[in-house]
Symmetry: C2
Subunit: 624 residues, 2 copies
C-alpha cells in the first residue's frame, strides 16, 4: 500500500470512529484545530498518565501547572515577542497569506519531481535550496520567489515580499486594554520564572527537575499535515536544572546499555544514514554532550517504545549547527517515521544557562544556585573600590554612572587601568551610559587583586529540556498501531488498532452471545467486577453478530473481548491473534486485569486456560 493510501485508511478510521474530528465542524471548522472524541481522549489520558508515571513520579520531578495567558514581559524576556516568527507572503490582491518557505519548497519539489526537462545544474540548485531552506533570510527568500516567478497558488496573483509574522495568539489582559498578553507558545517559561521557589522547595539542592503538562498555542500561517501541525496542542515539558560543571547523572547506568537508532550530526553531514548506537558509548565517545542529556534520551526511548512506537521507526537525530540556538550545548530530536516522513516528536536540548539568565536580567530577580564548599576555598578576586567622595566632587550628577561603569569593568580592563593610573596618575575612561570619555584620577578608585576565602560558589544552573509534543506522538502511535486484515469476503479489509494495553482507550468489551436474560445477568456481573478492578470497558447488548461486534471493537483497539456464551464460563478473545480461551465467570475480571496491568502477557494466559474453538454461530463475520 502507498503512503498516501495507508494514511487515508488510518485517518478515515480515526475520524469515522471519532478518535478525532475537525473542531467546530458544523460551522465549517477552523484550520489547525481538532477535537479528540471519546477514544482519542482516552488514548490521550493514558499517554499523559504514562508520562506522569514514567517521568514525574519515577524521577521525583516537581510538577507545576501555570496559566496559558502570559503577560508580554515574560515572552519579551524569553525572546518570543521578537523572534517567534515565520516569514509570510501575501497574495497582493486577495490578502491570502502563505508561508514563504513553504511556497519555495513546494516549487522546488515540484520541479524536481515533475519537470522532465530539468538540467542537472538546475536540479542541483533546487536541491541545495531545499537543504538550506531554514537558513534563508526574508531578503533571500524574497529574491528566490521573484527569480522563480512564484505566485499565489490559489489565484496566480503576485505575492508581497516576505515579512515576519509572530506566531503567538495575542490578547489583552484586564479591562483597560493596555496590558498586552499572549497565549503561551510553550509551557517552559512558567517553570523558569518559578525557579527560585522550586529550588527552595527542593531544599536548595541541584540537580532537580520540574515538569509541566499543558496547552500551548501557535497561530500557524497555514496549518498542514493534519494532527502534526496544529494551532493548539498539548505539551509535556521537563526542565532539569543541573550544575554546568557537573552534568553527570546518578541513574545513567540504568539506561547506558540501551541500543537504538541515532543520527549524529557528522553522519547527517556526510550523507550517511542513522545507525544503531549504545547510548552509553554515544556519551563516553562525546557524540552526546553529557550523561544527563544521554539519560533523558534513553528514558525517552523507553517511554515511546512502551507506548507502542515501533523502535525501527524511531531515531534520535542531533541538531545540525545551523538548527541549534547559539546558546545550546547540544540538542537531539526524537523523530518518528510516519506517512509524512520523519517527524520531530520530542526535543531534548541542553539549553545551558540561557533561559534563567534571560529572566534574571529582565526581572532583576537573581535566578541562581549555590554550592556550599565542605572547606572554604581561597580564591583570587578582583576588587574595585571607587571613592564616592572623589567621584562626587569631580562628576556631580553623573557620579552614579561613572561609579557603575568602574565597578562593571572586566579583569583585563581593570588591570590595564590600574597600571595606567600607577604610571600616569590619570586615564581616559569611556562611560557608555554618558556617551563620552571622562578622566579618572588615581584618587578616585582603588583596584586590587585580593585573596579571599569563599564558602560557596554561586552560579546560574544549566537546563536540560526534554519537550514532548503529545499530539504528534499520539498521531504517530495511531499510524504505528494500525493494520488491516482480510474480512470474510476477499476484497474486504478489516481495520485494527493494535494498541498495547497501556494506551488502549477501552481495555475490554463484554458481549452476551445472544439476547438472553441469563447471559445479560452474567454480563452485568462481569461488568461490575471490571469496574471494581478499575478496568475501563463497555457492555454491548445490541444483539449484532459476534463477528460484527469484534470488528467494531478491533477498530478502536480494544485488546480483549469477553463473550458470555454460558453462565459459568465465558470466552475471552485476544484482538491481535484472535485466539480464544475459556475462563470461569468469577475469575475473568482478574485475568483481564493481569494482562492490562502488564503482569502477564496474552501468551502467559494462553498456557493456563483451555482454548475455545468457535462454533459456526459465533464465527467472526465482517461488518456489513
Amino acid at each position: 500500500m502507498s503512503r498516501d493510501a495507508f494514511r487515508a485508511a488510518v485517518t478515515n478510521t480515526l475520524e469515522r470512529r471519532l478518535f478525532f474530528v475537525p473542531s467546530f465542524k458544523i460551522y465549517g471548522g477552523v484550520a489547525g484545530l481538532y477535537d479528540y472524541g471519546p477514544p482519542g481522549c482516552a488514548v490521550k489520558a493514558n499517554v499523559l498518565a504514562s508520562w506522569r508515571q514514567h517521568f514525574v513520579l519515577a524521577e521525583g520531578m516537581l510538577e507545576v501547572d501555570c496559566p496559558c495567558v502570559t503577560p508580554e514581559v515574560v515572552l519579551k524576556a524569553s525572546g518570543h515577542v521578537d523572534k517567534f516568527t515565520d516569514l509570510m507572503v501575501k497574495d497582493e490582491k486577495t490578502g491570502n497569506c502563505y508561508r514563504a518557505d513553504h511556497l519555495l519548497k513546494d516549487f522546488c519539489k515540484d520541479k524536481l519531481e515533475k519537470d522532465q526537462t530539468l538540467s542537472p545544474e538546475k536540479a542541483e540548485e533546487y536541491n541545495r535550496i531545499l537543504a538550506i531552506l531554514d537558513d534563508l533570510s526574508a531578503e533571500q527568500l524574497g529574491a528566490k520567489i521573484r527569480e522563480y516567478g512564484i505566485v499565489a497558488p490559489d489565484t496566480k496573483n503576485p505575492l508581497s515580499d516576505p515579512y515576519p509574522f509572530n506566531l503567538m495568539f495575542q490578547t489583552s489582559i484586564g479591562p483597560s486594554g493596555l496590558s498586552a498578553g499572549y497565549m503561551r507558545p510553550e509551557t517552559a517559561q512558567g517553570i523558569f520564572v518559578n525557579f527560585k521557589d522550586l529550588y527552595y522547595y527542593n531544599g536548595n539542592k541541584l540537580p532537580f527537575a520540574a515538569a509541566q503538562i499543558g496547552q500551548a498555542f501557535r497561530n500557524e500561517i497555514s496549518p498542514r499535515q493534519g494532527l502534526l501541525r496544529v494551532r493548539e496542542f498539548t505539551l509535556a515539558e521537563i526542565e532539569h536544572f543541573v550544575d554546568p560543571e557537573d552534568k553527570s547523572h546518578p541513574k545513567f547506568g540504568d539506561v547506558s546499555d540501551l541500543e537504538f537508532l541515532m543520527f549524529p550530526r557528522e553522519d547527517q553531514m556526510a550523507g550517511r544514514s542513522a545507525t544503531r548506537l549504545k547510548i552509553g558509548n554515544a556519551v563516553s565517545e562525546g557524540t552526546v554532550n553529557n550523561e544527563t542529556l544521554g539519560y533523558f534520551i534513553g528514558r525517552v526511548y523507553l517511554f515511546l517504545t512502551q507506548l507502542g512506537i515501533d523502535k525501527d521507526r524511531l531515531r534520535f537525530r542531533q541538531h545540525l549547527p545551523n538548527e541549534m540556538a547559539h546558546y545550546a550545548a547540544d540538542c537531539w530530536d526524537a523523530e518518528i517515521e510516519c506517512s509524512y516522513g520523519w517527524i520531530e516528536c520530542v526535543g531534548i536540548a541542553d539549553r545551558s544557562a540561557y533561559d534563567l539568565r534571560a529572566h534574571s536580567d529582565k526581572s532583576g530577580e537573581k535566578l541562581e544556585a549555590h554550592e556550599k564548599f565542605a572547606e572554604p576555598r581561597e580564591v583570587e578576586k578582583l576588587v574595585i573600590t571607587p571613592s564616592k567622595k572623589e567621584l562626587g566632587l569631580a562628576f556631580k550628577g553623573n557620579q552614579r554612572m561613572v561609579l557603575e561603569a568602574l565597578e562593571a569593568m572586566g579583569e583585563t580592563e581593570a588591570l590595564d587601568m590600574k597600571a595606567a593610573l600607577e604610571s600616569k596618575g590619570e586615564v581616559e575612561f569611556k562611560v557608555c551610559t554618558l556617551g563620552k570619555d571622562v578622566i579618572i584620577k588615581k584618587s578616585m578608585v582603588s583596584i586590587n587583586i585580593e585573596k579571599k576565602k569563599e564558602h560557596q560558589r554561586k552560579f546560574t544552573p544549566s537546563v536540560i529540556e526534554p519537550s514532548f509534543g503529545i499530539g504528534r506522538i499520539i498521531y504517530c502511535l495511531f499510524e504505528h498501531c494500525f493494520y488491516q486484515r482480510p474480512g470474510k469476503t476477499e476484497d474486504e479489509q478489516l481495520n485494527v488498532f493494535g494498541f498495547p494495553p497501556l494506551v488502549a482507550p477501552i481495555k475490554c468489551t463484554v458481549f452476551p452471545l445472544v439476547k438472553l436474560e441469563k447471559f445479560e445477568v452474567v454480563a452485568k456481573k462481569i461488568s461490575k467486577a471490571l469496574t471494581t478492578a478499575g478496568i475501563s470497558h463497555i457492555i454491548d447488548m445490541t444483539g449484532n453478530t459476534i463477528g460484527k461486534r469484534y470488528a467494531r471493537t478491533d477498530e478502536i483497539g480494544v485488546p480483549l473481548a469477553i463473550t458470555v456464551d454460558n453462565t459459568t464460563s465465558v470466552t475471552v478473545r485476544d484482538r491481535d491473534s484472535k485466539d480464544q480461551i475459556r475462563v470461569e465467570v468469577d475469575e475473568v475480571a482478574s485475568v483481564v486485569k493481569e494482562v492490562m496491568d502488564g503482569q502477564s502477557t496474552w501468551a502467559d494466559i494462553m498456557w493456563r486456560y483451555p482454548a475455545h474453538t468457535a462454533s459456526a454461530a459465533e464465527d467472526e463475520e465482517p461488518e456489513p
Copy 2:
C-alpha cells in the same frame, strides 16, 4: 479564630509550601492568575482523576477534548459575544476600571457595618439594594452610584457611567487578522457543536452524557478572593442529553436515600435556612424538577464528600427565578462554605433544549434526536400543499418567498386561511420576506388535516449540565482539611492538612531515623516496593529530627510516615491521630497501599499490628 485569621493561616501555609503561588511573581504577578506548585498540582491531578473515575468511567460518559481557541461564530450562537459581560465603570482621570456592582455593594455594606447614625429607612434601602444587586441594569446602577456620590476607591476621582465589558479574552485566528476568536469561557460549547457525532457514536440512543475537562478563561475586571475568582481556571463539565419527555434516570435509586443540606427557592424567599432533605423526596415532591437532575445532585454530593469536603458545610441551593436563564427548567448550585462565605463550586442546571437549538439555528445543521416507535403511530397532521404553477403565474420572481411563507404557517393561521378561502375564495396574506401583503386565491394552496402513520418522533434533546469549578473545589478542600495543633512550646501552632488518601499529594514518606547506612538501605528497599505498588512517596534523608520531619510532611498533608528505626521492622505513623504501629519491612508497602486504596482504614490497621511507643529520642518536636 476569626475567619480572616483562619484564612491567613491557610493561605500562608499554601503559599509557603508551594501549593500555589501568584503567577509570574518575579515580574510582579498578574491579578487573577495563579500557578499550582508541586503539592497543589498533585492534589489537582488527584481531584481530576477522581472526577474521571466517579463520572466518566462509572457512568460510561463520552469524554472529549476540544481546543480553547474558539471562532467567533460559535460564541455568537451561544450568546457569549453579546451577553457575557459585567458592568464596568472607569475612573474618569486615571482610566482605572472597576465592577460597578462591586462598588455599590461595598458602599452599602460599609454603611450598614460602620455608620452608627444610619436611619432604619436607610438601612432597609441598603439591604434591599444588596438583595437585588444582580438584577440592576446599567442605568439603575449608574443612578445609584451618582445618588450616593460613589467615587473611585483608590483616587476619589469621579466615575464614568456603567457600561458592559465583555469578559472573554479576544484574539485573532490565522495571519490575516480578519477572523476574530476568543479563549473559551466554558468547555460546554465544544460538546454541543459535536452533538451529532456523539449521538451517532452512542448508537443514536438517548440518554447519554458527554464530558470535558479543560481550561476556561474569563477576563475579570478586577479579580478578588484569591483562588476563587481567577482569569484562567480548570472546568470539568458534563452535558447529559435526555428526551425532554422522559427525564427519569435508571440509577436514581442508587442515590435516592441520600440526605443532605438543600436550600430550595421557597425557603430562601421565606427567609428560612437550608434543611436536610432526602434527594428522593425532593424529586418526588417536585422540589427538584426531575430524576436526572436529582441523580446528578446526589452524585455531586458523593463526589465532593469523598474528596474531603465537610458535609455540614456543603449545601445545594436552588436558583431564584431572577438568577435563572429564561430557558432553564431548574438549576441548583453546590455551594461550599469557606472563609469567604458560601461559594458556588458546582452548577447543576437543566438547560432544556436551548444550546442545541441555538447551534442548530446558527449553523443550519440539525442537532436532533429521534425515537423510533415500536408500532407506527397514527397522528393528525397539518398538510399545506402550495401549487407551484399557480404561484409562479401570480408572483413570478417572488414565487419562492410566497411559497416558503405559506409552508411556514402555524396550525391556527393555516386553518384560519383555509376557512377564509372556503368562504371568500381569496385572502390577504403577509409575506415578511417581501415586506408586504399578497392576495392568496383558493387555487394556490390546499390546506388539510390528514391522518398519517408516523414511525418515529424527532426532537431536540434537553441537556442537564453539571459544571465543576475545579479550582474553587480545591480551594474549599484546602480550607476544610486544614487544622492546627499545639507544638512543643505553648504558643506554637503546627499546621496540618488532613487530606483523605484519595487527594493527598504524596501518600507516604520514608525517613531513616538516623543517618546510618543500614537504615538508608532499608529505606531505599521500601521506596522501591512503594514505587512498584504505585504509591507516590518521598524519602527524606536530610537527617533533621523526626519531629521536624513529621511537622514538615503534616503541613503538606502526607497521611502516613514510615520511620526506619530497625532493619527488620519499621514504625508507621498516622498523620491525624499520631498513632504509631510496628510493621515488618517486607509488609509495609502493601499495608500502606491497603490504606491508600481505601480497602482498609487506619483504625482497621491499628487492630492488626502492635503499637509503637515513641522513645524520647524520636519524640515529635516542633519545627524551629
